[in-house]
Symmetry: C2
Subunit: 433 residues, 2 copies
């Protein structure tokens, strides 16, 4: 069968990994696909050493790749918005299938890109954009096609999970572990995208659209980072039988979809609570199959290349055929009437740490405020004050409550004379439906 020709744009971490895996596993990949896959063109602004470019056209103007008649599939691996988008749109315009690992691009410009691709009859695949090497997009778009998704939750930023895992295992402080993560090359010099949840929100945006068949709406994702999590809260959570993970969560409610990224207490017995270090995992709750979970490497050169190449093979199967492709977001028609709920409408349990002056009667006042706001308490930890401390923490787990009711209660708690610091609150999820 005719070979399928690939044009790579970008030869950085993922681009280099893709080159190497395609080269090292060429025989196996061709055997699996049923036809050979060749790189025929690479675009990069500075020509990298250490690669064999025999038989490969090299362009420093990356757009050249997208107009090369000898390229069937354009692979965008430069990242960012501007040139990346130009490359993808030009490839589509020229009737080529596209593969990208660029979550930021898809989360922000995906609707426009998919519309252009569908109009032109080509496919844009983006498995590597979410959870790196885990075939989660394929599982959700194809494997779970029979199901209505009720909710999903993912550990979808490896840096954040590494930091929280170290904090728990070794009692270390956030800043300390972050510094190590940067030294190890897990976290960028500017770690904001990772630790403040923006990267996770890009990925959650994509997962939620595929789960519920709605347009990508990154701007409506609620995003909260992990930089304020303390070793103390990690410990108290542990005492209560929970772990703190940075989760992207999407939940279907009667009136819309919750879409939020935030630190979350989850029961230590749940499988996903045991996904540690830089690993990623996504669990999906569905009506027919129940809960399935997918875990593995969320980043790394060859791990991400694994997904890029799977996408290449998938679109390569379409080249020169009249096949019916899998719709970009997994639905033939997207429902733009589905509402993304404001975070204060969301429903979760809460972990609260309330620093109080050691006074008789404060517990009664707290309990009264909770009860007035119809918040049910599931567990309380009362700690002895430290030797010389004038205050002591009251730790509480609540049952599920609407966030706006919790906001009201917290305002009242903070107004109490006996409550001496802003209340610390972390959401709690049981992830079982």
């Amino acid at each position: 069968m005719k070979s399928v020709n690939v044009g790579l744009c970008g030869l950085g971490t993922v681009g280099g990994g893709t080159y190497r895996v395609l080269r090292d596993n060429q025989a196996q990949i061709s055997a699996r696909a049923g036809f050979p896959i060749n790189i025929t063109h690479i675009g990069m602004r500075t020509v990298k050493e250490g690669y064999d470019y025999t038989g490969i056209t090299v362009s420093q103007d990356l757009l050249e790749v997208t107009i090369d008649p000898n390229v069937d599939v354009v692979v965008e691996l430069i990242g960012g918005y501007d040139l990346a988008k130009e490359i993808v749109m030009s490839a589509i315009e020229n009737g080529k299938h596209v593969v990208t690992a660029n979550k930021a691009l898809i989360a922000v410009h995906g609707n426009e890109i998919f519309a252009a691709a569908s109009k032109k009859g080509v496919t844009v695949n983006f498995e590597a954009a979410v959870a790196g090497g885990i075939p989660i997009i394929k599982a959700m778009r194809e494997g779970l096609v029979a199901n209505k998704v009720t909710s999903l939750a993912g550990i979808i930023n490896g840096t954040g999970n590494f930091i929280l895992t170290e904090m728990r295992d070794k009692g270390r402080a956030f800043e300390d572990v972050l510094k190590e993560a940067q030294e190890l090359g897990y976290a960028e010099a500017d770690p904001t995208f990772d630790v403040e949840g923006i990267d996770a929100a890009h990925k959650l945006t994509i997962l939620a659209s595929i789960a519920f068949g709605m347009p990508l709406q990154f701007e409506k994702a609620y995003t909260e980072g992990i930089s304020k999590i303390t070793a103390q809260d990690v410990n108290y959570a542990e005492e209560l039988g929970y772990r703190i993970k940075h989760l992207g969560v999407a939940v279907k409610r009667e009136n819309g979809i919750e879409m939020r990224v935030h630190p979350t207490l989850i029961p230590e017995k749940s499988l996903i609570a045991n996904v540690n270090g830089v690993l990623n995992a996504v669990l999906v709750n569905c009506d027919a199959v129940g809960q399935t979970m997918y875990s593995g490497a969320g980043a790394g050169d060859t791990a991400t290349a694994s997904s890029v190449i799977a996408d290449i093979v998938d679109v390569a199967r379409l080249v020169g055929t009249n096949a019916r492709p899998v719709p970009h977001l997994g639905f033939g028609e997207i429902d733009d009437s589905i509402e993304i709920l404001d975070v204060d409408q969301s429903e979760t349990g809460f972990y609260l740490r309330i620093e109080v002056s050691d006074k008789v009667g404060v517990m009664a006042k707290i309990a009264q405020i909770m009860s007035e706001n119809a918040i049910n308490i599931e567990a309380i930890l009362q700690k002895e004050p430290a030797e010389d401390a004038k205050t002591l923490p009251v730790i509480m787990l609540t049952h599920k409550v609407k966030e706006q009711d919790m906001n009201t209660a917290i305002k009242k708690l903070e107004a109490l004379d006996d409550v001496v610091e802003p209340v610390v609150r972390i959401r709690v999820e049981h992830l079982n439906g």
Copy 2:
């Protein structure tokens, strides 16, 4: 777009689930597929009540379904070998795509079935045959297409996992939990297929062929059940930091493939050790992506239907097109020169329980036998004898050793006067490569 018509053979647990999910989620499934999917024909030997057969042809001769020109995809859900095979072969002969959940049929007759299908240009899909609702076949054939698989391990029988989980959590005996599993409907009246590992060996055979691109060779799978596992061994394993799971394991070695089903100690910290109850999970170790794991419901009416319907949608996409289908076993060409290694060539760690008479000197003799056979001991648990017992157990964990060397050592151990019972041995896997 033209609708795709499905003919169901069998309306039992999975058939009924498939009917119901296709009916309840019809709008969603059509939206996801991009075209409507209808059941137009059902074959069943006794017509079941409680179903609406409007617009559906009902046949009590199941082969009628396979020759109906109004059926595009034939779904075999009766199980067993004889009629099931006839149905599948007749459907292929009549140019129809096939979906089946029948692991026994695929493991034993898959080579013949796939050859016939490829010749006829149709596809036989079988996602539900392994790990029920988990899209593991799709992940391995498509999602991991770029990778060389180095090994895989799966909890692929829910009944067995339920029994082992209960034994560990509640210290119950095997027979006792098995009885409950039968009452709960998890285990068949004749539980042999489940607890003796035959069902798991069917599934492992399929997974291993997809992992390594070799013909299905069920007869070469080594199969050992869990019926001899005692609560005592479960406890000692726990003390050593391990859990006992019934695993299907396939490992690539220089000279061939290990393919074996047996009870296995795995480190309690590994994610798959925490897959409990009736849940299934498969982990796959690969060169590019590293380790990924997939978990979820391995059985149940609608959970299994989820995979059956995903398969239906996949083959439905091929109907009336010249698309390049995914090869049945994930490889365009199957390598029948790959050897399946005899189990005594396999390499694992071992857990040994050696009952000895309480005599000074026996430990030295044991250690000498181990050392003579180049077996390295990783950990030893020595227990005090029970009040009135004349013997006491010595528990050992060994490093990786070739099974034939362990056999030799065990023979020598059992020949010692001080060793008063056959040595209990359970394999140990660390699952990390």
